[in-house]
Amino acid sequence: MNIANRQTYRRTTNFSGTKIYCLASAAISVTIVCTILVTLLVQSGPVLFTENAGLIGTKWNPSDGQFGILPMLFGSIFVMLIAVTIAFPLGLMAAVYIAETRSSKLRRALKSVLEILAGIPSIVYGLIGVAYLNIWIADLFDLQSGRIILTAGILLGIMILPTFLTLTEDAISAVPVKFRENAKSLGLYRHEVFFSIILPKAKSGIAGAGLLALGRALGETMAVMLVIGSLDRLPSPLFNPLSSGQTITSKLGREVTESAFGSPHFSALVFMGLLLVLITILLTIVSRLMFKQEDRHV
């Protein structure tokens, strides 16, 4: 075969090296996700098939074979709710200010500061929680220790604030200027323009931003682990933010290395991890649907 022939052959062949390489990469990418989910599922097996493990219970005591995950699940949700109560109103209002003042200089400056803040590693937030926040909270409420659910909630609220703020600002800015101009020319005040024109238009984008922030709040480990106090009991009374608690992530961070691989204890921890993964993936899917709706609206 001479060179010209070989060239023709290579040009017409269907399975070039590049194609095989690309196919393999794509296959590996999909396989990784499946492997993670299957591994977590398989490793949750032992505790799911253990009798009287009390999985849907409130008692966590590995030496008695009691693995009630409710305190951790409740802790995760409670901390998330506190974080959201702080971050959402504050972030939304600040985003409105940035988007509606329409000063592009201020906007660009704030956006870059927010990007830096969103990039601060969570362990650094944890350090701030340990060094300042938990001491301030202990002084404020006159407590022995500031390592309580409230501290974790506030810290988490501060952590998700930059992400929520920039995404919300994007959603509000995406509403075309002509809507604002028309509304203003009708003599509406700024708050009326916002509540009756902008908010209805941007609401699915804002909701998407909120869900994404929720997912981040649920999955956050380091900062929460350092300030929550690690107590595996439901707070009493139930909605008492001043008691110590435990979230799924802080539990995993503290106990995974203490449990033996393959034991019901380890498997109960993996099961909680699996639950967490499923919840966060669900939140992401819904938030992506919201963002898509936003694209159609505008």
């Binding site: 977590l40 990007e115 340990v130 993964v277």
Partner: protein, 287 residues
């Protein structure tokens, strides 16, 4: 009539005040965060701190091997993720014509992005440390970090590739280039910035992560340069974690602030480089 006007006017003033107060609160929080990291961190920084090994369980000495370990792990992670992200993005652009496959791939990447970082750590602990029996290994940590930044790197490359004007491909095809040649001559050079940007954003995220690597890749004290793939290293985030747990000791806390400042500077450095490449990408696209 007049009364209604007054109420609306008052509402307007209240709304404006509320907005200002929110922005001010956010600003104050952000200022406090950055300020405390910088002020406390600079107090701990010195040449010895940067270039000496840690002594006395991190209470004295420096963080040289922690910086080294962090950089080594993320560099290896970037090297692992690069071919995978490039191949996956190329597949989406050049070879995949079926929408359901595209959808599956996109959803997998978004799912990967959504998974909490601690579960990556548990996954690594199960698969590598226990099933494959590697023990605590920095290279395993790099693999896990590579999986974590795969979505970011792939999506950024993909975006850059789909931004290439269609006419480039058509011209190349008209000149008689086949698919792999078009990829090599047109797609890759024109989307290179996207790959670099995605990798750098991924690295900025990976270098600050603690949860995925703390079970599988790191040791706290007595670690220097690893001699093989299956040895632990010490990294900045895990070092800060250990020091933060001894927070009653002012000396340990001081070093934790110093390590935090170095970490934040590294993260900002990677993000800054990413911004630089992204702006070059955008200006190149306008030509």
């Amino acid at each position: 009539m007049f009364d209604e006007f007054n109420i609306r006017h008052a509402q307007e003033r209240g709304f404006a005040l509320l907005l200002r107060a929110s922005l001010f609160t956010c600003g104050a929080i952000l200022f406090f965060l950055l300020g405390s990291i910088v002020v406390k961190g600079i107090g701990a920084l010195s040449l010895e701190f940067l270039f000496m090994p840690a002594k006395d369980f991190g209470r004295s000495g420096g963080i040289f091997y922690q910086i080294f370990g962090s950089l080594m792990m993320v560099t290896a992670a970037a090297a692992i993720v690069l071919p995978l992200a490039l191949g996956t993005a190329l597949f989406q652009i050049s070879y995949n014509s079926r929408p359901e496959v595209k959808y599956l791939l996109e959803q997998s990447l978004y799912a990967l992005n959504a998974i909490p970082s601690i579960t990556y750590g548990i996954f690594g602990l199960i698969v590598f440390v226990n099933v494959l029996n590697t023990g605590i290994s920095w290279f395993v940590g790099s693999i896990i970090l590579a999986i974590m930044i795969l979505p970011t790197a792939t999506l950024s490359t993909y975006q850059a590739m789909s931004a290439i004007p269609k006419i480039y491909h058509e011209n190349a095809a008209a000149l008689g280039l086949n698919k792999s040649q078009i990829i090599r001559r047109v797609t890759l050079p024109q989307s290179f910035h996207g790959l670099v940007t995605g990798l750098l954003i991924g690295l900025a995220r990976a270098i600050g992560e603690t949860a995925p690597i703390m079970f599988i890749a790191t040791a706290f004290s007595g670690v220097t340069v690893p001699q093989s793939l299956v040895e632990p290293v010490s990294t900045l985030p895990t070092h800060i974690l250990e020091l933060a747990q001894q927070s009653t000791d002012p000396q340990a806390l001081q070093n934790a602030w110093g390590a935090s400042l170095v970490l934040v500077i590294l993260v900002a450095g990677f993000s800054g480089l990413a911004l630089f490449f992204r702006s070059r990408l955008i200006s190149a696209g306008h030509k």
